[in-house]
Symmetry: C2
Amino acid sequence: MSRTFASQAEHRAFVAQQARMPQGFRAGSTRFAFTPAEVDKPANMNVTVLAADQPCADFAAVFTRNAVAGAPVLLGRQRLNEPQLGAIVINNKISNVGVDTGMADAEAVCAAVGAGLGLPGSAVMSASTGVIGWRLPKAAIVAAVPKAIESLTSASLFPAAEAIMTTDLYPKARTARVGEGCITGIAKGAGMIEPNMATMLGFVLTDLAVPREALRAMLPRVVDQSFNAISIDSDTSTSDMVVVLSSGKVPCPDLGQFEAALMHVCQNLAHDVVRNGEGVHHVMRVTVKGVANTAWAKAIGKSVVNSPLVKAAICGNDPNVGRLLCAIGKVAGGAGFDLKTSDLNVFMGGHPLFSRGAFTLSRELETTLQAYLQHAQMYESRASDDGIFRPPLAFPPHERCVDIEVNWGQAGAQEVSIFGADLSHEYVSENADYRS
Amino acid sequence: MSRTFASQAEHRAFVAQQARMPQGFRAGSTRFAFTPAEVDKPANMNVTVLAADQPCADFAAVFTRNAVAGAPVLLGRQRLNEPQLGAIVINNKISNVGVDTGMADAEAVCAAVGAGLGLPGSAVMSASTGVIGWRLPKAAIVAAVPKAIESLTSASLFPAAEAIMTTDLYPKARTARVGEGCITGIAKGAGMIEPNMATMLGFVLTDLAVPREALRAMLPRVVDQSFNAISIDSDTSTSDMVVVLSSGKVPCPDLGQFEAALMHVCQNLAHDVVRNGEGVHHVMRVTVKGVANTAWAKAIGKSVVNSPLVKAAICGNDPNVGRLLCAIGKVAGGAGFDLKTSDLNVFMGGHPLFSRGAFTLSRELETTLQAYLQHAQMYESRASDDGIFRPPLAFPPHERCVDIEVNWGQAGAQEVSIFGADLSHEYVSENADYRS
């Protein structure tokens, strides 16, 4: 987490290099204008197709646990029973959630993509992201599909990573090599992010041959330690999904090595999603050690990264350690964890600030921690003339984070890391000052 | 909830009228300057004493469930075993949490108050609110106690309601009559509010004679439906407490009538706390009906009022119903509640917007809901010249709220109401732009 970027061009070059297309796949996108049925305001939509040269028997997916799941999620769960998957079609702008014609609309889009590729509609998975409650412009999407298919190319996943964005500031792609093959993922997501099975949308393609059963066994393990270990605003989306598709073009030397590489790709993508979260100035990494019950450790980490007061303090470069302890104690006491405050140790940036039941504060520590927070900041808030706060950057200037360690000193505990973000005027502007 | 206030003077007159002192009690406060050990910046502190004319055998209290509880909470739990309580001493500015000398400091303050009133220190309860992690200025408080005791008066609880404030914009007091007696409560709290046993600080005095056992049985029931049914920012304080003290000067005609009046006082105080929450523009009331499992109903209500995206949308007068459904589905799905989306109905301001699995949106409904949200707004955001957002009001202009009803249609369900607030630039300014 120590890479830096001096310019948007430098960051885009990095993402382009990460967006390597695995063998056996192509991607294409198209953009069109339409007017939603629900508001009298024209909008633009991108339709993106990820296509396999031959339908793949080896694929896996995990989906949101939100009870109000979108039609693409409901349809995607059905697709897991299909013998083969040949393509994924993705639209932004409208998420196709809670609409009576949602399933039929999603099936129609899949059928159009299938028709263009010589596949049955049931071999196509769909994914949608954007406004909840609006109807998909089905006819316009179906009309656009042939153009997306015409544009299919095996050159790079970079255009697809850009086309699936909504409020994201920049595209996200990560790759890893295993033997002669590679695993490449792209993701979108910037708000409504506390994934509970997957981030908003993540698509991973690989040319390495991994059987369906093996893929499906490892994906939940990987997601648990990547997309399920982040939170921007604690709001689990209705549309979260992560899909992995293997073309099988390259023999896989070792399944353990593959899983480690998949973990690497997914963790980096998940961290990219946090760093590009709505209004994020600081990324927080909360590492919980010495808590033997792993579920408790996760809950403690989530409580810290989701505390509005901790988030706001970090945004202001304020080492408000009291709020940190409040967030830890809130979940430990509220959920009745059997943990004694007298065994608790807390560190920020490696500096001890709470040791066995009492704070270890001093004016010097305060100054040190302020400088530490400043160093981890990506930009400062400044309102535009119209009173709106907009992020001044379209790339991450660095990959530093605010490291918080919570250690309860119990033996035999697994270490848990949760990634989160601060709470800023830019987040409020993004979600309150604009009408969606 | 339909009272309006045209000016600060009108609101203060209302609070003063509510701050009626029950027979057998006096209150006094004093203010002094000091420099905290932890930062090189002078500060002011108020010390407030609530004193009974004779020590009371009948008292009850509930405390925070935060595992990192402050010294006054730990001491207060011990005081419940004392035969009598004669006074409560309250300071603002520093909460006396997580400090190695915390218990000794709190005991010293209690002893000083006891000495001034002719009581043992063990008959005095202490309460502290403010910065977590700082040391109480014990010597300065002990020196100030005699002045607070000199100022004791039975005239009104209004000065005490003002003296216990921290970031509160205005004092909060509520009263109710039962027979010839009365119950009067004061409360403070504006941030770090998702009480879990009690709000930050609430003190209720009554002249009605209610035995200790009866008081202690009813207080948790009352708190459950008042202070425990609100959330401003989901952060349960380390210092929450509610204390009830009876002087027994007036016979109580009926315990049921007393409990109903106590409920009235506590609910109104809890709503006052939400309305005066940090940066609050809109108060939200989420009523969950038709969910037979009451714990699920509460969790659904809390999920809505704590969703940053719902909160930000309401701040912007944006009827973003998709976020509302996301927040409902997040907890229902994440916690595995056995509830079908196809049975779900959601209303805002009485207008149906989601009915049996699908949205019922239209451009007309959008316009209606925007106007409804605007009507429930207390003020508009405007940054000062220094870029800081400060609430432009020191009183609540009205007591309207945004009414959200979630109805799952199950028979035999208890109705649950949860109060919450929106998320604004003023909240971020309060908690990020100032250094604490």
